[in-house]
């Protein structure tokens, strides 16, 4: 079985500041890792994913995440946030051929 812990339920940050949203996971098997974003009143959409290879993955809207196998983490970062980045962010893990396990979400609020 897998579990996902998003370490911060809410992250307030000022516009143009950097941000990091933290995600730790546990799994007895190899998993694929995902970050999804949910803008207000919308469905979830993929931000980025790690399948294999380079541990630094780049996604849409200037976000990137680093897979750290020894620490079983997959933290999401952006060097400079915009008001439009205000959203709910979900970390998820999926074993090959298995079902996804989601974290509880992190609410990112970008203030002017």
């Amino acid at each position: 079985a897998q579990s996902v812990t998003q370490l911060d339920s809410q992250v307030p940050v000022f516009e143009e500041a950097p941000v990091e949203l933290r995600c730790n996971y546990s799994s007895s098997v190899s998993v694929y890792l995902f970050w999804y974003v949910q803008y207000p009143n919308q469905g979830l959409q993929l931000l980025l994913k790690y399948l294999s290879g380079s541990t630094l993955v780049k996604g849409i809207n200037g976000f990137e995440a680093e897979f750290n196998k020894s620490q079983t983490s997959f933290h999401l970062r952006k060097p400079s946030v915009h008001i439009s980045d205000t959203a709910e962010y979900f970390c998820a893990v999926t074993p090959p051929g298995g079902k996804s396990t989601f974290g509880d979400g992190t609410t990112l609020t970008v203030k002017p």
Binding site: L44, A92, T107
Partner: protein
């Protein structure tokens, strides 16, 4: 051209009524899901269908009955609605044997009064 579409987007109904939500995907995926998102934004998987066959049923009350007429469609019927059923219900799809990346619909917000 919407990849995963669900209707209706909003439902408001009284306790005890029955309601249905429909979902269609045009991505050619084999697997479809229903997720429930509560007021705290927690996402919980309810059902998964693979090519019209029920794969996952996550201890959901049997008032909830999914139906998949074909692999592009997955509907959710809810009988005898209760206050606790108020939530946003998301349909999603993925490709069997793929990476597990999920494609979500825009959600159906159900409010039970």
């Amino acid at each position: 051209d919407t990849a995963v579409s669900q209707t209706p987007k909003y439902l408001v109904t009284q306790m005890g009524n029955d309601k249905s939500i429909k979902c269609e995907q045009n991505l050619g995926h084999d697997t479809m899901y229903w997720y429930k998102q509560d007021s705290k934004k927690f996402l919980k998987i309810m059902f998964s269908y693979n090519n019209k066959e029920l794969i996952i049923n996550e201890t959901v009350p049997n008032r909830f009955s999914p139906k998949s007429p074909d692999k592009a469609h997955l509907n959710l019927h809810i009988n005898s609605l209760e206050l606790g059923d108020s939530a946003v219900y998301f349909c999603a799809s993925s490709q069997l044997g793929g990476t597990g990346e999920l494609f979500f619909g825009e959600g159906s917000r159900l409010t039970v009064l």
